[in-house]
Amino acid sequence: MARVRRPSNISVASKTPKAFIYIAVAVIAVAGYFIVQHNKGGEAENSEETAVASTDRSSALYAPAIGPEDAPVVFAKWTDFQ
C-alpha cells in the first residue's frame, strides 16, 4: 500500500493539553526561583562566620591609646599579653 507523506505545515494534535504544559513550566520556574533564594540565604548565613571590615572602621580608631589624637608622632605597638 502506498504511504502518504503528510504536508509539513499540518501539525499533529498532541495528546498532552497545552494548558498542562504551561502549568508545568510555571511550576518549574517558581520552584527554581525558591531554590535560588534558599541558596542565597544559606550563603548569607555562612558569611556571618567571616566578617569583612567595613570602610569606616579603621584599626587606629579602635586602638586603645594614650596621648592626644593630633600628636605629631604616633607610636603603634602590635603585641599580645602572653
Binding site: E49, A53, P64, F75, K77, W78
Partner: protein, 228 residues
C-alpha cells in the same frame, strides 16, 4: 612605654594593637578580655592585670580580674563572647599581618617599622620623627595632615604575600578603610593536655656506660641521644 609618654607629653600618642600569636594559646582570650574591658573604658587596667599574670593566663580568672578593676562583671562576660568584641581583636591581627607584623612586639613610628630595644633607642627614633613631621607643618598642613604625609611616605610592606597594591600599606590598612577579612567565631576552648604515658620501660644501664651520680640513687634518669 610609660616613660616615653611622660617624657614627650602631648607630642606622642601611644597606640596598642592586638597581635595574639598562634602558638601563645592564652594570648587571644586575654586580648578579647582586654577588648571587653575597653568597652567599659578600662582597657589599661585589664592590660596591667594580664601582664601581671602573663605566666599563668587562664580564661577562668578573667571575670575575677574584671571584678577587681571595678567592671560590671555580667556585662564583661557578655562582651567577652560578643562577635563584635572578638572582631576587634581579630581585625587588629589581620591588619598586623598586612603590614608585615610577624612577631611580638612589633612597633611602628608614624608608619615606619622600628627595631629599637632601649629607651635611648626609642628616644632617638622619636626625636628624628618629631623633627621630620614638624618640618612638614605649615599654613596648609596641620599636625594631623603632616603625620598622614609621613605615614604615606613610609616604606611599604614588601612581603609578596601581603603587599598592598600601590604601596601605601600602613596608611591604607591602619588609618583608612583597610579592608581585611577576619573571623568573628568564638575561640574554641583549648584541647585538654595529652595524658601522661603510664608505660614503664626497663632501661638497662650496662657497666661502662657514661654515668653521673651514685649507682644507688633513688631516681635514675636515662638519656638516649646523639650529638647532632
Amino acid at each position: 612605654m610609660e616613660e616615653l609618654t611622660e617624657h614627650y607629653g602631648d607630642q606622642l600618642r601611644l597606640e596598642y594593637h592586638h597581635y595574639p600569636l598562634g602558638f601563645h594559646k592564652a594570648a587571644e582570650p586575654a586580648a578579647i578580655a582586654s577588648a571587653a574591658a575597653q568597652k567599659q573604658g578600662k582597657f589599661w587596667e585589664m592590660a596591667h592585670k594580664l601582664y601581671d599574670n602573663y605566666k599563668e593566663l587562664n580564661t577562668a580568672d578573667y571575670a575575677a580580674y574584671a571584678a577587681e578593676i571595678g567592671l560590671d562583671v555580667e556585662q564583661f562576660k557578655k562582651d567577652f563572647e560578643d562577635p563584635e568584641v572578638i572582631g576587634l581583636v581579630r581585625r587588629d591581627k589581620a591588619v598586623g599581618d598586612k603590614i608585615g607584623v610577624r612577631g611580638t612586639p612589633s612597633m611602628f613610628v608614624n608608619g615606619r617599622r622600628i627595631s629599637g630595644r632601649t629607651l635611648d633607642d626609642f628616644k632617638g627614633i622619636i626625636d628624628a620623627e618629631l623633627a621630620a613631621t614638624k618640618a612638614l607643618i605649615n599654613k596648609q598642613t596641620d599636625v594631623k595632615a603632616a603625620v598622614r604625609k609621613r605615614m604615606e611616605a613610609a616604606p611599604p610592606n614588601t612581603d609578596p604575600k601581603n603587599a598592598f597594591p600601590g604601596g601605601k600599606t600602613y596608611l591604607s590598612y591602619v588609618i583608612d578603610d583597610g579592608k581585611v577579612e577576619f573571623s568573628t567565631e568564638a575561640t574554641p576552648p583549648p584541647p585538654p593536655p595529652p595524658p601522661v604515658p603510664k608505660t614503664v620501660f626497663n632501661a638497662v644501664v650496662n657497666e661502662g656506660d657514661p654515668i653521673k651520680g651514685p649507682k644507688d640513687a633513688l631516681v635514675t634518669i636515662v638519656e638516649v641521644s646523639d650529638f647532632q
